[in-house]
Symmetry: C2
Subunit: 115 residues, 2 copies
DNA sequence: ATGGGTGCAAATCCTTTGCATCTGC
DNA sequence: GCAGATGCAAAGGATTTGCACCCAT
């Protein structure tokens, strides 16, 4: 499972991961994939993303970065981290929360779907 | 329904909205709430947010702003918009996408849940 | 024999949809 | 009587869980 997520460049959903793993290893079950994904996420091996659609998507790129999501076809791409650290501090000051992390997703159209 | 969402300061889920509306108007159905929420979202009267948990949450504050979410109790607060416009342009340049919008959520602990 | 991981299927949660009903015109 | 909105319940999709089973120890 880890291999598949690492090899994927398209931020696949659990369902897509299931299909791909199943191609190499027929008979694998839904539960195993979900259980393994949860494990990998807990160990910091992969990231779980909520990119606006219904299903969670997974990312083998663990480095700090953001995403762009196409509102038409659902494709997603990585973007180098764009948020200055001061923004997190400003958020803490404004709300009294202790910020540990953040998730930033741009919404728009991919090259193929036109502007 | 619009009154309830506007009056709420806690980014309620559809379920919470159902309960609150039901308090003032007993016998109201799940479907009506979901249908009305979808309508209001489509008309730009309220915002639908995906703040990391399972259920969608709604926000009566339509102005451009971001959010902080408590990873322990799930509470969410508004944060003044923190992202410079250049960041969106940088994302466009890096990916070839046309960015129309973005969603930014900080993750951390709220004052009550401690650091 | 035992423990951990696995597949299958049932269960759960959130949300949507079908359908008969009720409202106002 | 008709159109549109509504309530209820069933349907749907994503994810989790229960349970029997199999492999390696």
């Amino acid at each position: 499972v880890l291999d598949v997520v690492r090899a994927a460049s398209d931020h696949p959903t659990a369902h897509q991961i299931l299909e791909r793993v199943g191609a190499a290893q027929p008979g694998i079950g839904v539960a195993t994939v979900y259980r393994t994904l949860a494990l990998l996420v807990a160990h910091g091996q992969i990231l779980e993303l909520q990119l606006g659609d219904e299903a969670a998507r997974y990312d083998g790129n663990v480095a700090r970065h953001d995403h762009v999501v196409c509102t038409r076809c659902g494709a997603a791409a990585d973007v180098p981290a764009a948020l200055p650290v001061e923004a997190a501090r400003a958020a803490e000051a404004a709300t009294g929360y202790t910020v540990q992390d953040y998730e930033l997703a741009f919404r728009g159209r991919c090259a193929g779907c036109g502007g």
